[in-house]
């Protein structure tokens, strides 16, 4: 094997290794976000609790691997299902809660007002227009917290439990 080939192999190996380290950090962030979605679902006062069982994910990348931990979880004796949303038509009909993942500012901008009343919207902390959602994940130092935009919840007739409001770092009225 010549030196060029060896150098290339070493370079790719090192890159793969460091990419793995970076991906490990992303993994944890998305897993915590998945857990947060489950808790937000639990602490929403659903008008028709019998029909509350779907979380939609709006994302450019495939995040299914991270949300397997909440798919099938029981809420009010029903299994929660995760639905990948690829269009506004999908979003309008599918779900009780919609999570806007990184790089979905455009979808959040265009869809948030059009979603039916009672649908809870959650924005990733990286979204610059996260204030258009009802619950905005929020990076605080090394931790992930959340802000409740109460003016949006009121406009769309969503009731969040007092426990959720107490834990939020901020409630924007």
């Amino acid at each position: 094997m010549n030196i060029k080939t060896m150098s290339l192999l070493i370079f790719v190996s090192v890159n793969c290794f460091f990419s793995a380290s970076l991906n490990a950090a992303d993994d944890k962030a998305f897993q915590v976000k998945a857990a947060y979605l489950f808790q937000f679902f639990r602490y929403t006062d659903w008008p028709d609790i019998a029909k509350a069982n779907t979380i939609g994910i709006v994302s450019e990348q495939n995040l299914n691997a991270y949300f397997v931990t909440i798919e099938g979880k029981l809420f009010n004796e029903q299994e929660i299902t995760i639905h990948a949303i690829t269009s506004m038509k999908d979003a309008l009909n599918c779900c009780n809660m919609v999570y806007f993942a990184p790089n979905t500012e455009e979808q959040l901008q265009q869809w948030s007002n059009k979603l039916p009343n009672g649908v809870v919207t959650v924005a990733d902390e990286s979204l610059l227009n996260g204030n258009l959602s009802m619950i905005q994940l929020n990076k605080k130092g090394t931790k992930l917290k959340f802000i409740v935009n109460a003016f949006n919840t009121k406009a769309k007739k969503v009731d969040l439990s007092s426990r959720l409001l107490r834990v939020a770092t901020m409630v924007n009225n």
Binding site: S13, C16, S19, V32, A65, T69, K140, K143, L144, R163
Partner: protein
């Protein structure tokens, strides 16, 4: 295939496998409160400037300062000029101070700090007869109890307003003595380790936090509330700072500070001092205005350790009476957040 190549290919495959797998950890059993306490992100050096509930921080700051020219107002003055009015003139002063900070964030909004320091002063003098001598003092200085309260922040946490309130405790000695040609005498005000008075310090801090930099400005007012046991009190102080911290990457930041200070002179006199002998024994030879600039670099190490080195230089000063002028100082720091 030779052994080296086999090893390389194996390494390549293993590292790429690591890239492909997602470790699906289930955090759904944690409460909504506990999720907010997890360390999710690796954290950058700028994050060390923001304290969150239950953060505990220990810091040590070491400052070395040198003052080596007498000054009156905005002009430097010579030793003979000083000796035309006094029997003794200071020539230079070296100060070394080590400060310990303990900080606890009671909540995301309220932080409590205790600070104390150990000081080591050395001042060289020259007499009218041409003799030189040095006086020294060292020991614990005054201590400080501080409450910092974040009273306003915007929804995206970029703009923060913090109120500072502090009580300075007179734990430093005002009775330091040393040998001089006149015998074992009470050292002047500048060589004392403390102020002897309780002091109150109030301030406001505005901070703007962006992804790659932080800009902050502070203004403080500090005042003694009582005469000390020797019958004097140090002058009130107003301090204003403008800071810019730029993050080169997640571990390294460059810091720039512009600082202004005004201080009143000492009111009252220590009867143990003879104001005819040396300018540092005269209460009106204290206080003035200074403008200084500081540059530094901070480095975030593993396990939330941070170290820094800063150099501060006085750009302009206007002193009351005759006193040693401030010149430069170097600050070394180490912080650990738990």
């Amino acid at each position: 295939m030779n052994n080296k190549l086999k090893l390389l290919v194996s390494l390549f495959l293993i590292s790429c496998l690591m890239t492909r797998s997602v470790n699906a950890q289930d955090f759904t059993s944690l409460s909504i409160e506990d999720l907010g306490e997890l360390d999710v992100f690796s954290g950058s050096i700028l994050d060390t400037h923001i304290h969150q509930k239950d953060d505990l921080m220990i810091a040590l700051h070491h400052t070395y300062m040198q003052m080596n020219q007498m000054r009156s107002g905005t002009n430097t003055i010579s030793t003979p000029r000083v000796l035309s009015e006094y029997m003794v003139s200071p020539i230079d002063m070296k100060m070394s101070m080590t400060m310990l900070h303990l900080m606890y964030a009671y909540s995301d909004n309220l932080t409590m700090i205790f600070a104390t320091h150990y000081m080591d002063f050395s001042m060289q003098h020259k007499t009218r007869m041409g003799m030189q001598f040095t006086t020294n003092s060292k020991g614990m200085g005054d201590s400080e109890l501080v409450l910092n309260y974040l009273f306003k922040q915007d929804s995206d946490d970029e703009n923060r307003w913090i109120m500072h309130t502090a009580l300075i405790l007179p734990t430093g000695s005002i009775d330091e003595k040393d040998m001089t040609p006149m015998g074992h005498v009470q050292l002047p005000y500048a060589m004392q380790l403390g102020t002897g008075s309780y002091q109150v310090k109030l301030g406001v801090d505005y901070t703007q936090i962006k992804e790659r930099y932080i800009i902050s400005s502070q203004i403080f007012v500090q005042s003694p509330v009582n005469d000390n046991d020797a019958g004097y009190q140090i002058g009130e102080k107003i301090l204003a700072n403008l800071n810019y911290i730029y993050s080169l990457n997640d571990q390294l930041s460059l810091n720039f500070t512009l600082g202004y200070q005004w201080q009143n002179d000492i009111s009252g006199t220590d009867k143990r001092l003879n104001p005819m002998v040396v300018p540092t024994a005269v209460n009106n030879n204290y206080g003035g205005n200074t403008l200084d600039a500081e540059v530094g670099i901070s480095w975030l190490l593993p396990k939330k350790n941070k170290i820094g080195i800063h150099y501060q230089k006085v750009l302009w000063q206007n002193v009351h009476g005759m006193q040693l002028q401030h010149d430069w100082q170097v600050n070394l720091s180490w912080e650990l957040t738990l």
